[in-house]
Symmetry: C2
Subunit: 113 residues, 2 copies
DNA sequence: CAAATATATGCAGATATTATTATATATGAA
DNA sequence: TTCATATATAATAATATCTGCATATATTTG
């Protein structure tokens, strides 16, 4: 079971505009490097670097097919993260009545900003 | 409705070990700055800086109560993200049969790594 | 008002990320 | 074998991020 620290690290790895687009594209199926190169209009080395990072963290893996590398999703957290990321939220969280149950919080009061 | 770019930005803001712990703590209820200072054992200015960033992105907000700032969660995506982050995944995603439905992918084949 | 408390802000230095360029490797084709 | 294609890696330079420290602001207390 992955530690919470590792999970945050993973989140950091995912939290990049290019890498999110890569992952979102992989959600639809297998893709090779030059597919991304075209789709994202960034350089091939740059695509490879992002994929390398994602591989390093076990987020993706690939099959070799001739001179192609066919990348696919491997970490099951990815579809869930992408799902949350696309979800629409209509309302903010309900604000607490106000105010503190904080440790220091036993001040005069009646202020609320 | 938030753009996908903004959501990834938000993800980047969240993806930090200290900020995740702050958010996870706020999930349980209102907390003031010095509560975090103690809980996280980091300096007060550092706590304030992280909170400032979270405020800037609308992730948290606060009430003023005397000299306390009582922080609370505001962005509804946070509990969902934290939920996914804590979830346990037993298996990797099923690997595709292999191989490409990639644009370039019509090579001789039968390789698979 | 002065002192103490709670928090915020600005800046400097260290460190980490990112894209770019050049180069290397492996495969398939001629 | 030689050439072209697909991808990876290395080195670099530009940029962003993070922490720590000093200081500022606001509020309450005496």
């Amino acid at each position: 079971m992955r530690s919470i620290g590792k999970r945050v690290e993973l989140l950091r790895v995912i939290a990049h505009p290019v890498r999110i687009r890569i992952l979102d594209e992989l959600l639809k199926g297998v893709k090779c490097v030059s597919d991304f190169e075209e789709f994202l209009s960034i350089s091939q080395p740059n695509v490879s670097q992002h994929l390398s990072l994602l591989r390093q963290y076990g987020v993706v893996d690939y099959y070799i097919d001739g001179r192609l590398r066919c990348y696919f999703l491997r970490d099951p957290i990815i579809p869930d993260i992408l799902g949350v990321l696309k979800k629409d939220y209509m309302e903010e969280l309900p604000a607490p009545a106000c105010c503190p149950i904080t440790k220091k919080g036993t001040y005069p009061r009646e202020r609320m900003r």
